[in-house]
């Protein structure tokens, strides 16, 4: 039929050879495609920074999974980002051990310095701020993590330094 209106719904993008290579490697660790699905979302996020609708559909298509089910998984786990994030994701620990050592005021320091709240990204796309459950470094509280690095025994001055260093990295 020629008069069908073109759908504006997102469509699967093509996965990159690197993504496919890593997904294929994960397949060797798990007997079922569903288990690989979550791994594939992590792989896609590693390369793209986040999981777009187009990426999610691509993974579902590649592994023959139901897109809605994969979406349910993607939105369940807090380390899968379904929205774009900044270059540096600040994972701020606000659980009880850090709270007892004053993390609330430190969070205030970050939000006023960067002008963002939890879940927001700075206008220059440099930083995203999110809370993280207890980082398991309570003897060095308060702590936060950016990428692979945990920053410990935080003070407002240390936070200023961390932000300056991360900006300089970019």
């Amino acid at each position: 039929m020629s008069n069908i209106i073109a759908s504006t719904a997102p469509k699967a993008r093509a996965l990159t050879p690197e993504e496919i290579h890593e997904i294929e490697h994960e397949k060797t660790h798990y007997p079922y495609a569903q288990a690989v699905g979550l791994e594939a979302l992590k792989i896609v996020q590693k390369y793209q920074g986040w999981v777009s609708d187009e990426s999610l559909l691509a993974v579902a298509e590649y592994l023959d999974l139901a897109p809605d089910e994969l979406e349910g998984v993607a939105t369940f786990f807090n380390m899968i980002f379904r929205r774009p994030v900044g270059r540096h994701v600040i994972q701020f620990c606000d659980s009880v051990a850090c709270w007892m050592l004053g993390c609330d005021s430190l969070k205030g320091h970050i939000t006023s310095t960067l002008g963002i709240e939890y879940g927001e990204t700075t206008a220059d796309n440099m930083f995203t701020l999110i809370p993280v459950p207890c980082l398991g470094d309570c003897d060095k509280a308060p702590v936060l993590q950016v990428g692979d690095v945990v920053y410990r025994n935080l003070t407002p001055e240390k936070i200023d330094q961390i932000i300056a260093d991360l900006r300089a990295q970019a």
């Binding site: 288990a35 807090n78 009880v96 459950p133 207890c134």
Partner: protein, 425 residues
């Protein structure tokens, strides 16, 4: 039989890179694998059972007994899953073990897999633990190269693959059946029990889920024997465990010590007591999901039964100290916020009860609470009690709340009448 006094941390030196396989072997490592391969699997299980080793993840169930529920091999796959999803608020022991002596965990995985005749093992590691991930990847690679993993380990008929799985987050993954769902790539909702995972776990096959520290105890038991393990404990207990302290103490940290050590020894001798100008008001004995204990309980030995008699749980045995200048209501509010956020949303008391509880705690903390809220909070602890929920998350969340209502009742009422008097948060 002779053996090390501190088997879990003997190879650990903060600031030094973890032992390579060669260094680890030179320090007596991987002996338990050779020994276990020469034993009947049942005999390995019996030794672990007789050692009295209890699960170090929080529940404290006898490990060998947990293993004994695995049915006899039927030729199909069987799994060992290590729970390295350390996320209980205030707990930081597995991080130490995995970052600083990854081979101990790998050895434990192999020996435990021999015991239950597992063909595939997974280490379920929390995604944020990047240093542990790096250390474990290296250790697993070395173990494969040395023939401790893979086909026909050390020339035996036993084969085992070990996969490091990094989690995508969520506290609920620490619950063993939720963890299994996460590993299967599903939403991490807990499963109905029975059947227990030992019978029908990962992909419906026999599966044992053990905590990192639990598995790290196994090499010692097999290498040096049950009598040695028993000689390590005090106050009628066996073995060692890692306990620790956070909060405003002089020397926060975690240390390996005999099972049965008292809270006071941990708090005063290891952590050096409170910082000057602060006093202990109360402490959470083993994570955010345990009942508050008071300074008068410090002389209790860290034994699950003794702590239970005092109205709490030993949990992970890493204590969090609440000082006299920090608001207990704010502390409980923080905990309720955590648990409300981490509820998987599966069952009503947890999904709806926890946000409501958090809301009432927030009202009290910000001076807009009422006496009615305090009564409601009491009710909530009953709705979230064991038996009313699918898993232990909400009953765990109720523990600091119910004990807080008991121990700090005056402060709850004061918050209703005058708001929060504490400056320091």
């Amino acid at each position: 039989m002779n053996g090390p006094k501190l088997p879990l941390t003997k190879n650990i030196e903060i600031g030094r890179a973890p032992f390579t396989l060669a260094q680890y072997q030179a320090a007596g490592g991987y002996v338990s694998v050779t020994k276990a391969l020469a034993m009947e699997p049942k005999a390995v299980r019996e030794q672990v059972k007789d050692s009295g080793l209890g699960g170090r993840g929080g529940a404290g169930f006898n490990t060998g007994l947990k293993w004994s529920f695995v049915p006899e091999p039927d030729g199909g796959p069987r799994y060992l899953v290590v729970n390295g999803d350390e996320m209980e608020p205030g707990t930081f022991k597995d991080r130490l073990l995995m970052e600083y002596d990854p081979h101990l965990l790998v050895e434990g995985v192999i020996t435990s897999s021999i015991a239950i005749q597992a063909s595939q093992a997974y280490i379920f590691l929390r995604g944020e633990y990047k240093a542990a991930e790096k250390a474990l990847q290296q250790a697993i690679k070395e173990a494969y190269e040395a023939g401790f993993l893979g086909k026909n380990i050390q020339g035996s008929n036993f084969s085992l693959d070990l996969c490091l799985h990094t989690s995508a987050g969520r506290y609920i993954c620490g619950e063993e059946t939720a963890l299994i769902n996460a590993l299967e790539g599903k939403r991490a909702n807990p499963r109905f029990k029975p059947p227990f995972p030992q019978v029908s776990g990962l992909w419906g096959r026999p599966t044992v889920v053990n905590n990192v520290e639990t598995i790290c105890n196994v090499p010692g038991i097999i290498s040096y024997g049950v009598e040695w393990f028993k000689s390590l404990g005090i106050n009628g207990q066996t073995g060692t465990r890692i306990s620790g302290v956070s909060g405003r103490v002089k020397n926060p940290g975690c240390w390996e010590m005999p099972v049965g050590t008292t809270f006071r020894t941990l708090f005063e001798d290891f952590a050096g007591g409170m910082l000057d100008g602060y006093e202990m008001k109360a402490f959470l004995p083993g994570g955010g999901s345990t009942d508050f204990l008071l300074p008068e309980h410090l002389d209790l030995p860290m034994i699950p039964g003794d702590v239970a008699k005092a109205g709490s749980r030993l949990g992970t045995s890493l204590i969090m100290v609440l000082d006299d200048k920090t608001c207990p209501i704010g502390c409980i509010e923080n905990l309720m916020k955590f648990f409300a956020h981490e509820s998987c949303g599966w069952c009503t008391p947890c999904r709806d009860g926890l946000p409501w509880t958090e809301h009432m705690m927030h009202k009290l903390e910000t001076g807009t609470g009422s006496m009615e809220d305090i009564e409601r909070l009491e009710e909530m602890t009953r709705y979230m009690a064991p038996g009313n929920t699918f898993c232990a998350l909400a009953p765990g969340a109720a523990e600091p709340l119910q004990s807080g209502l008991k121990h700090f009742r005056d402060e709850f009422i004061e918050h209703v009448q005058h708001g929060c008097k504490y400056k320091q948060h």
